[in-house]
């Protein structure tokens, strides 16, 4: 049964009712393509904010450039849509100087791992106390579908018409190796698991990364895996294994091997920011004698 637009508009938006207070509804409709997965992340994140027990006024979102980066513009939170590749250092500056805030970066794979790869590496190494939701759609959607650092080898993209000949980052594997406190991977089909993971991320002291695998209509078209087909595969071909060997979980969107999801890593170690606050106490305690 198909509905007319007028009929469709009369249906109450029950699925988004709960998060209305966190949406800039005056900005809708959003810019994402039909069948894009990013909107699901928006919804799940907003639900997690409401359930986090942290005042939404203290939740800050930061994003870079690209499709995923537009999320901050639809959230009624303090939100900063900054330079391409640079949301992580921006978030680090904000979190370091205002430790009471809960700062989350939500951006794409090209933004955070290709142009912004150096910042990702060092924020993970320093164990900066920020949350990173990295939406991986295997290509640069906004600019027409070029390849990036997470494009699987062999993929066809706007700039690899003969097949991609580079390797791709395995996000959980490198994140763990770099020293992140928390590492997880979910798909946009796994809403409940993703939300739980985001809620857990809010409690972590240190660099917390969730890779969210998402379909992209551009990537899908060129690689014979339309978004709905990919969503089906997420249901049929994903394996949840929290104890997976991270070195073996490269993504293969053609699903020749299953996509491994899970909450892979949670380490209790102090962040840069926690250590710096202690450092201030130590220095000021010692300085009092000299003053």
């Amino acid at each position: 049964m198909s509905l007319t637009r007028a009929e469709a508009e009369k249906i109450p938006p029950t699925r988004t009712e709960r998060i209305r207070s966190l949406l800039r509804t005056e900005r809708l409709p959003h810019i994402w393509c039909p069948a894009c997965g990013i909107g699901i992340v928006l919804k799940v994140f907003a639900e997690a904010v409401l359930e986090s027990g942290i005042d939404p006024d203290k939740h800050i979102v930061v994003s870079g450039i690209g499709c995923a980066g537009r999320i901050t513009g639809y959230l009624r939170l303090d939100g900063y849509h900054v330079l391409h590749g640079r949301p992580i250092p921006f978030a680090v500056g904000l979190k370091t100087s205002r430790p009471e805030l809960e700062v989350t970066v939500i951006s794409g794979d090209g933004d955070l791992l290709t142009i912004g790869g150096n910042h990702f590496i060092h924020a993970a190494r320093r164990n900066d106390d920020i949350n990173v939701i990295l939406i991986n759609n295997f290509n640069y959607g906004m600019t027409g579908g070029q390849y990036g650092a997470t494009t699987p080898p062999g993929s066809r993209t706007l700039t690899s018409p003969y097949g991609h000949i580079e390797g791709a980052f395995n996000v959980p594997y490198i994140s763990a190796a770099l020293g992140a406190s928390y590492v997880a991977r979910w798909s946009v089909l796994h809403e409940r698991e993703l939300k739980k993971s985001i809620l857990e991320m809010f409690t972590v002291d240190g660099f917390a990364v969730i890779e969210v695998v998402s379909p992209c209509i551009l990537y899908g078209e060129l690689n014979n895996i339309p978004p709905l087909e990919m969503m089906k595969k997420f249901r049929e071909k994903c394996i949840i294994d929290h104890n997976a060997d991270l070195s073996q979980i490269d993504l293969d969107p053609s699903f020749k091997k299953p996509i491994v999801l899970g909450n892979f890593l949670k380490i209790d170690k102090p962040s840069y920011q926690t250590q710096y606050i202690k450092l201030i106490e130590r220095v000021r305690g010692g300085a009092r004698g000299r003053a």
Binding site: R27, D57, Y80, P89, V92, G93, S97, R98, H122, A287
Partner: protein, 384 residues
Amino acid sequence: MASGNGLLRPGVYFMRGNDAAVEGALIAGCRFFAGYPITPSNEVSARMSRRMPEVGGYFIQMEDEIASIMAVIGAAVGGVKAMTATSGPGFSLMQEAIGLSAMIEAPTVIIDVQRGGPSTGLPTLVGQGDIMQAKWGSHGDYSSIAYLPNSPQEMFDLTIEAFNAAWKYRVPVIVLADQMVGQMIEKVVVPPHEKIQIVDRKRPEVPPEEYLPFDKRYLVPPMAAAGEGYRVHMTGLTHDERGYPTTRHEVSKWLVEKLVEKVRRNEKEIAMWETYEVDDAKLVVVAFGITSRSAKRAVREARRKGLRVGLFRPKTAWPFPYWALEDIVSSGAKVLVVEINMGQMVHVVREYVGKENVYHMPWAPGAVPPPETILEKITEVYSP
């Protein structure tokens, strides 16, 4: 040395320029520093790393200069006064983010201790080649402010001015020092703190539901900080007064004009300069930063020889105090611009004084032009 609150006590000190800038920044309220190592600015981050915890502030060394300036912008939107320090190559890397700072009206302070260029150039030697970059370095139309200290004392004073201007006008502000001024050690007087004027952000006076982050009624809108409940959206995209992206021509026109007018309309209040023996001068030397000190000696020598020569020293490159210079040379005096580059401020001077009477002494060997060399040029230009 430090008082109970960790700030440098009033008094007379023998201090390096880069260190004086740090103490000025802390007194101005700077509580966050992010930087990346680069010669000849390293004394700034070294001292910041030691001093920040003493005043309850935060220091972080980032992975590069792009990250440093982005962290500074991040702290600024949180309402925390923040700065970074660098030199030419790092300043080049920061340019895109300087545009973001201007676009979202996040107040930032950058100390650029200039060295010889281009490229890696002369890391340990003096240069003045970032004059144009300080104004035109990022793409598109925006405004910045740039100070030109010529002593450790001015590294202290003008860094305070830089913070005040940044937070008053919500713009990126650059302290355009140079290797000599940054690394020389001289007398620095720290006045009683209560005599130092400190400017803070104008805060919103309306409840969050009425607040517009880029309210059209203001040239410089009141600034809500992150976490204060105003739920702002800020973007580097062209945006309306709600902070929302738009491609509407009239909104773009309003935004870009405002970003430029913020400084242009206040140029007389912001600009600073100094003159020496200009009243009857037939030739006015224009020099700034460390070069002004050599030029002053040359002017004094010229006077001794009976030549009517004066010195005009801009203390702000941007806005350039053109009206003051126009006034001085209105009697038809010649102008000689001396700078440690192949020609940057001379273009600004020619824009206002005209091409006819403006002479240039470019100097780019990684050293300050000696007074006697400037004097030779003065003599040559004075009576051709």
